[in-house]
């Protein structure tokens, strides 16, 4: 423990410095603006459940889909050195597949919901492997390869259900998107914890993390060392597909409605941003999933802060952009190395002073 602390003081938090500073700044800013901003209350909701509510809960709950997608996006970024811009459209497809199964049966029970979710997973993994094949086998730039699904994905989502906004209502769906009776924590938050746990276990018990990193740093070197880089790249897209299915399912369950045009709209950009804020190199290689998760919460906290400040509709995006520019510039290699040089200078000055003092 003591060693750990010492290491942190000496070398900083490494990759996590920027996202943690960002979150700290947002917290301080909000506390100054409104000391009760983060207060949490227990309220009785209209379904008769006692649930937690407050801005903090809104932030953690609202960022769920983004956090799940950011985890998968980190893996694709690390392995392929590029990003999947079709995750929003793919989530609309997965969500539509989920609704399709739910609506095909006479009633919705636990069994049909599980079936529907598994079907959504298969569909999303299929589309993930489509993207992955283009990137890994045909060596197409990820952004170009996924542009195809980005363009046509929402039409496919429409085609699955026919109607523009099919609705599903069931206590089970409400429980997935809202609260399980007797549990005061929003279910999407629990799902994020579950997905993160799966990632931790996979990285602990397999060499996926190491393989992904080496493929991302130098694909041919990795291949010479016996790693099938094509497969690793494809696998990263399939795993992202699973994340997409989870995000789509949460998105649909929140309101019991699928609008293929607006479900998780523009989330691909936020997911990429979360990866970037998390200090990951967008060119592939070394990565830290925890950074991306924090990045997702930074973005959501920013949005909720702007809502709480009642920034006018037309200005929200501009304010968001300003904060993000600052974050990304501070995290850039140029500023980092300048900062490092500056710190070294101070250190050497101090040493010189102490040496002089000794004389």
């Amino acid at each position: 423990m003591k060693d750990n602390l010492k290491r942190i003081f000496k070398g900083g938090l490494g990759q996590l410095t920027i996202p943690l500073i960002a979150i700290a700044l947002l917290v301080i800013f909000n506390l100054i603006r409104d000391p009760s901003f983060f207060s949490i209350e227990l309220t009785l909701n209209n379904n008769g459940n006692t649930v937690l509510s407050g801005n903090l809960i809104s932030i953690i709950n609202g960022a769920s889909e983004l956090a799940v997608l950011a985890m998968g996006m980190t893996l694709v970024t690390a392995a392929c050195g590029g990003q999947d811009i079709s995750v929003g459209a793919a989530a609309a497809i997965a969500g539509s597949a989920f609704v399709k199964i739910l609506k095909s049966g006479p009633s919705i029970n636990i069994g049909t919901v599980i079936m529907a979710f598994l079907f959504a997973c298969v569909v999303a993994m299929l589309f993930g492997s489509f993207n992955g094949t283009l990137v890994s086998v045909f060596k197409i730039q990820p952004m170009i390869a996924t542009l195809i699904l980005y363009t046509c994905g929402r039409s496919i989502a429409y085609w699955i259900n026919g109607g523009a906004t099919p609705t599903v209502s069931s206590p089970i769906i409400t429980a997935i998107g809202g609260f399980i009776p007797g549990v005061p924590i929003p279910t999407p938050v629990l799902i994020v914890i579950g997905v993160a746990l799966v990632f931790v276990l996979v990285f602990h018990f397999t060499s996926l993390g190491l393989f992904t990193q080496s493929v991302g740093i130098n694909g041919s070197a990795a291949r010479l060392n016996g790693i099938n880089s094509t497969f690793i790249k494809l696998l990263s897209f399939i795993i992202l597909g699973l994340c997409v299915a989870v995000a789509g399912t949460i998105g649909v369950s929140r309101l019991g409605l699928i609008n293929h045009e607006t479900l998780l709209l523009d989330i691909e950009m936020d997911a990429i941003l979360a990866v970037a804020i998390g200090g990951n190199n967008l060119g592939g290689g070394k990565f830290k999933i925890s950074g991306s998760i924090i990045g997702a919460y930074v973005i959501q906290m920013l949005t909720i802060t702007l809502y709480a400040m009642k920034v006018p509709s037309t200005d929200v995006k501009a304010y968001k952009a300003i904060v993000i520019i600052i974050l990304v510039v501070i995290g850039s290699p140029v500023i980092k190395s300048k900062f490092q040089k500056f710190m070294n200078k101070i250190k050497s000055n101090r040493q010189r002073v102490s040496v002089k003092g000794a004389e």
């Binding site: 909701n45 209209n46 046509c152 039409s155 809502y307």
Partner: protein, 329 residues
């Protein structure tokens, strides 16, 4: 070796299936009708694809129902979101020799030449849903919605409720869209006059989940409100989800008045159940008006015909209304 081959085969197979999937949805333009018989009126419809929205889906179905063979029509349709593809389709209909050309254009510009050709060929043109920037002489009539009137109808209904005070959460559609500008206008006038109090005015860009976040943030801030004015049904549903999670009552006998637009069937059912209070219509049913003009049952007095639109009160809504005016399923 064989294992490797099998692997790559699998990859190609998955690629091909997904490609096929996407190909299915991009097709579908230009469904020519059956063989023409004498006495039928040939109508060519250039429209946006039904996948655009619930509105468009109902619009396309309405066109097909009114201009049916049973009613003495031969219908040809072309759907695209792109103006140039729409122009080509219109050109195609003119060459084929339709009697009437009905257009809901993707963009307001670029239609001069095609409409002039239609006029030369003696084809009569009707615009529906959307106006085009051309000389009035190039078309017979334009049947359109008046979005600002939709807003006025809704706000007048709200004023008639005689609430003690109006503390309004206003959730807007995509900024700059016709529906947003129209539906915002009337409410903005009330805010300006001081009759209603603006608690918050935010855009959710038609996104249900975003609407929920906006209402959540107001609840968390502790500000008092008693009206939610959402510019479409989906966003109203998102807002209500936030109220439900916070344990705030809504609808008839509730604390918060909930208002939506578009009249989706599921939304009207929420009204019927008393969970919402008001839903404003945005009518996609222009076909009957155009058909009446074609058959001489209705005379054109002004080139711009405003489609009559209703607003539904949860207290007076009937099941018939849901079946007649509800969109979707």
């Amino acid at each position: 070796m064989t294992k490797k081959k099998f692997g790559s085969l699998l990859l190609v197979a998955s690629l091909v299936t997904t490609l096929l999937f996407s190909a299915c949805t991009t097709g579908g333009a230009g469904n020519a009708g059956g063989s023409s018989s004498k006495g039928t009126i040939k109508v060519g419809v250039v429209n946006n694809p039904p996948s655009e929205s619930g509105y468009r889906e109902a619009n396309v179905k309405d066109m097909e129902a009114v201009f049916s063979a049973a009613n003495g029509y031969e219908l040809k349709t072309a759907y695209s979101l792109k103006n140039d593809e729409q122009l080509q389709a219109a050109q195609g209909f003119i060459t084929e020799g339709v009697d009437y050309l009905l257009i809901s254009a993707a963009e307001t510009t670029g239609w001069d030449e095609v409409l002039k050709k239609a006029k030369e060929a003696g084809i009569k043109v009707f615009l529906f849903d959307r106006m085009i920037d051309v000389d009035e002489s190039l078309y017979e009539a334009a049947v359109v919605s008046d979005m600002s009137k939709e807003g006025e109808t809704a706000v007048n209904w709200l004023l008639a409720q005689n609430l003690d005070e109006y503390n309004v959460i206003h959730i807007q559609g995509a900024m700059g869209s016709d529906a947003q500008i129209g539906r915002t206008g009337a409410l903005d006038a009330q805010f300006a006059s001081g009759k209603m109090n603006k608690v918050v005015q935010q855009t959710a860009t038609w996104d249900e989940a975003e609407a929920k976040k906006i209402v959540e943030s107001v609840i968390n801030s502790g500000d008092d409100f008693n009206v939610i004015y959402a510019e479409n049904d989906g966003m109203a549903k998102g807002a209500v989800a936030a109220l439900d999670e916070a344990g705030i009552s809504h609808g008839i006998n509730g604390k918060v008045v909930v208002m939506g637009f578009d009249c989706n069937k599921w939304a009207l059912r929420e009204l019927k159940a008393g969970n919402w209070n008001y839903d404003g219509q945005c009518s996609p049913f222009q076909a009957q008006i155009i058909s009446d003009i074609i058959q001489g049952k209705k005379t054109v007095t002004s080139k711009k015909i405003i489609n009559e639109e209703k607003g539904f009160d949860a207290k007076t809504l009937t099941d018939d209304d849901i079946n007649t005016y509800g969109l979707g399923e």
